[in-house]
């Protein structure tokens, strides 16, 4: 299954607010660390190597 880049989150605003709330009160260094952990957790959930590679390439593209 290829990487899904179609909208897959029913409540985008709610997700985004939750994401910011998760970082609330952290220093920038702590936020970076949280983001790293979050990437690893979600990557494990996805599991599929081609999908993860595609996601990494998309994120890297234009950075």
């Amino acid at each position: 299954m290829p990487l899904n880049t179609k909208n897959n989150i029913a409540d985008a605003d709610g997700f985004y607010a939750n994401l910011l709330a998760t970082h609330h009160g952290l220093s920038l260094a702590e936020s970076h660390a949280l983001n790293a952990r979050l990437v690893l957790i979600l990557a494990n959930h996805i599991g599929d190597t081609p999908v993860l590679s595609e996601a990494m390439a998309l994120a890297r593209d234009g950075s």
Partner: protein, 512 residues
């Protein structure tokens, strides 16, 4: 074309010479919400007196985006068609990052509604139309009547009013404060606003120019013409354009408002200097509300009760939602057909509506004006991805445009389309003659679809079943009964209902 302000006539009030009998309702503030409130009450057979400290309509365009729901309400008040005819109808919004369009949206792709998704119309036109309508209805409008004190008693309120001819006192069973975001009544009563004040300022300007911009909403994040900030361009009637420019917190509003500072910024947006500056203001972002909108005999409606940051069109439209929820209830209390407790329904529902508006506005503000650090990191990442991927676009937040909230009603429901569930505004649909929104409202109504309604003494609307009516109200069902409130909100619905079931739901709608 610059708006020609016509002052309303100040007339020396009777109360200056002879004490006036106690009024049923006094409305303080003749802005769009106060005037709409007075007309709504008149439609329910209650004459209100309206006091305003000024004698002209709104200076500057202020509230410009009127939602479909607001237009339906204005239609019931008798000015909806006028507003749509004059207004700029738009439904496409475009969002840019830097100078590239990242996506666009279409608000109402579906036909079969009397009113469009949104029209842009300067607040002064809406006030003018409402004031003229109020005059037609012989509503007592008192200009240059400024309230300087208010006192609450157990069964009435008394106020002192200052006029060019001196002061006088008035009493009323009910006082409705529609006196805006800086509500003097709220201040006199010592009531506090709870919520957030954001450290962000926007400059807002009306310009007149012969432009060929489309009738669309254009929003820019970090455009090259306004480095690192946000900007909005919106078309209004008479070649007036609204421009909003983010200023940041470290700016002095008085300096920013000066034409020599405003004009160069606007030149950068529109790309030339062939325009005339009509009005400029600077505002801060606030998302706050009163804890309650009902204080015994004094009621708060509109901005006096809640303020939101802009870009969601949730100020003026939110206020009309309040008018819609209060009018029928207060009229029934005054006529003695409902108890005072019914007004708790207004408080509960509109606090719910205000919270939804506050939540959406807070989120939009946070996206437009992210804090340094991780908030900005995520915001910029979303904008970066939105140009390339579908999933990031719903996360881009340049304002979530006003939609009526769905009140959480504990009411009979059936397996029928979601959009017409209890608590939602009854969806519009074309009928054989006219529209569903014209057939419903004003009083409690039974909508009988594909069957007859039990006789309970309510008006029954039984339209022919066309495609739009079936799709919006029946889905896969062959018949249904809807109980619709005077504010056109669905109170309850069944596939079939006995008279007793309808009576129970009706009693529940009054909050008794």
């Amino acid at each position: 074309m610059t708006y020609a302000y016509q002052p309303f006539d100040y007339v020396k009030p009777i109360g200056l010479t002879t004490p006036e009998p106690r009024h049923k309702v006094i409305i303080i503030g003749a802005g769009p919400i106060g005037l709409a409130m007075a007309i709504e009450l008149a439609n329910h057979g209650v004459q209100a007196t309206v006091l305003d400290d000024n004698n002209v309509v709104s200076v500057g365009s202020r509230a410009i985006c009127w939602s479909k729901r607001s237009l339906e309400i204005l239609d019931r008040l008798g000015v909806g068609e006028r507003a749509v005819t004059k207004g700029v109808t738009w439904k496409v919004g475009r969002t840019f990052h830097r100078d590239t369009e990242v996506f666009n949206f279409d608000l109402l792709p579906e036909d079969g509604h009397k009113m469009p998704a949104f029209v842009n119309l300067q607040q002064y036109f809406v006030e003018q139309y409402l004031a003229e309508r109020a005059q037609e209805l012989n509503i007592d409008l008192r200009w240059k009547n400024r309230v300087i004190s208010v006192d609450q008693h157990s069964e009435f309120a008394s106020i002192t009013v200052d006029t060019p001819d001196g002061r006088y006192g008035l009493e009323a069973d009910w006082v409705i404060a529609c006196d805006g975001a800086r509500s003097p009544i709220r201040e006199m009563m010592g009531l506090e606003f709870d919520g957030e004040l954001f450290e962000e300022r926007f400059l807002i300007a009306d310009i007149e120019m012969q432009g060929d911009f489309a009738s669309e909403r254009w929003f820019w994040f970090e455009p090259t013409f306004h480095s690192g900030q946000s900007a909005l361009l919106h078309k209004q009637p008479d070649n007036i354009y609204r421009i909003d420019l983010q200023l940041g917190w470290g700016t002095d509003p008085e300096i920013e408002k000066r034409p020599e500072n405003v004009i160069p910024r606007i030149e950068k947006v529109v790309g030339h200097s062939d325009f005339k500056l009509d009005w400029v203001s600077v505002y801060t972002f606030q998302c706050r509300r009163l804890r309650s909108f009902v204080y015994n005999r004094i009621l708060f409606v509109g901005d006096s009760a809640h303020v939101v940051s802009p870009f969601g069109a949730r100020g003026g439209n939110g206020g009309l939602g309040d008018v819609d929820a209060l009018g029928w209830r207060l009229a029934a209390v005054i006529k003695g057909v409902a108890t005072v407790e019914t007004l708790q329904g207004y408080d509960r529902e509109r606090c719910f509506g205000a919270d939804e508006n506050l939540l959406n506005s807070s989120r939009s503000t946070r996206f437009m004006s992210p804090a340094d650090g991780v908030e900005r990191l995520f915001r910029d990442a979303v904008l970066h991805l939105a140009g390339r991927t579908d999933f990031a676009r719903p996360m881009v937040n340049s304002g979530r445009l006003s939609k009526p909230c769905v009140y959480p009603l504990d009411a009979p429901d059936a397996d029928l389309p979601q959009a017409a569930r209890p608590g939602a505004v009854a969806p519009d649909a074309p009928l054989e003659t006219g529209w569903m929104t014209e057939a419903l409202g004003g009083d409690f109504v039974l909508l009988a679809l594909g069957c007859d309604a039990a006789e309970v003494g309510l008006r029954v609307v039984k339209p022919a079943l066309n495609e739009a009516v079936c799709r919006r109200y029946l889905g896969d069902a062959r018949q249904a009964i809807y109980l619709i409130r005077p504010d056109q909100v669905v109170a309850a619905r069944w596939l079939s209902a006995s008279a007793a079931e309808i009576q129970t739901a009706l009693a529940q709608s009054w909050g008794s």
